[in-house]
Symmetry: C2
Subunit: 153 residues, 2 copies
DNA sequence: GTGTCATTTTTGATTCATTCAAAACAAGCT
DNA sequence: AGCTTGTTTTGAATGAATCAAAAATGACAC
């Protein structure tokens, strides 16, 4: 039940994207499945254990290739390292915790795909709209309340 | 008409923010006035001419102080260096040109300030919503059309 | 299966934006 | 004018990401 076959699903996904199937790429894909929002470092940390000898550069390569192939998306919240997710195609957005940096998905609030429109006449030909919410996650909220129980403010 | 007095307006702004008035800070503020969306590098390039000997570190300091004091805002579009703007307080958004990196302001599309809301129950306590549009500015559009006049695609 | 060649991975160095830290300096109060 | 604290300078250090050349490997044809 653990690795009886070399993950046919990942295999097909990678091959289907026009990329060669390699141990590194399969491992990176698995790591992204396990961690819906992972930095290159986090992915690396997640796979060195099961695939020793992998270089961080290879992880960057794989992630970059996935992004180019449309298998993954790279987001980069201000002040944070580039982060990758497998959820592509739908236009969803993100919440970033200002405390711990945790990133969660947010389904498009307004409705279908391009959920925002720019005013016309700007001269820009808009391709995508990106929405990022910033706030405090429940964990961090609980933690900060524990630290200063007296109603400061 | 050119620098007859040492810019009383900048002076007051900086002092009003609780910061000491220094040549570097005044110069940085001026530079930001002239360039509504400037990186630390751009600001530096803009003031070394008129204030020789200024270090880039001082520019970083000044910009950071301004941001902390609420005089300026730092934005950081994915793949770009940190960029500063003086327009603060209103919640406006940005368009970034995928060609040349040019950044323009976009007034809040939906209406007043926090122009978006997150679904409840996410566990996050939302503080801000940030919207970034990505597209091609008119200059870059014109340029790319000039390069491949044959209707490719 | 074996050979071949293009693609990947590795290794190691390099860039860029930004931050850290200590010493020299200057703003603004008395 | 003198003091104190905040600011600037200088120089080094960090982190994320990219570049490049050599070694290794996947996938195809045979």
């Amino acid at each position: 039940m653990l690795d009886s076959r070399p993950d046919a699903a990942a295999d097909a996904l990678i091959r289907g994207a026009g990329l060669r199937v390699t141990a590194t790429r399969v491992a990176v894909l698995e790591a992204l499945r396990a961690r819906p929002h992972a930095t290159a470092d986090a992915v690396y940390d997640g796979i060195v254990g099961i695939l020793p000898g992998t270089s961080k550069q290879s992880v960057y390569n794989a992630l970059g290739d996935f992004a180019d192939a449309g298998l993954a998306r790279r987001i980069e919240p201000a002040g944070h390292a580039g982060t990758f997710e497998l959820r592509v195609g739908d236009n969803h957005h993100h919440v970033v915790c200002t405390g711990c940096g945790r990133i969660d998905d947010v389904d498009c609030v307004v409705g279908a795909a391009p959920c925002l429109h720019m005013p016309e006449g700007s001269g820009f030909f808009i391709e995508t709209a990106e929405v990022t919410f910033w706030g405090v996650c429940s964990d961090c909220r609980a933690k900060s309340e524990a630290e200063k129980p007296r109603g400061s403010r």
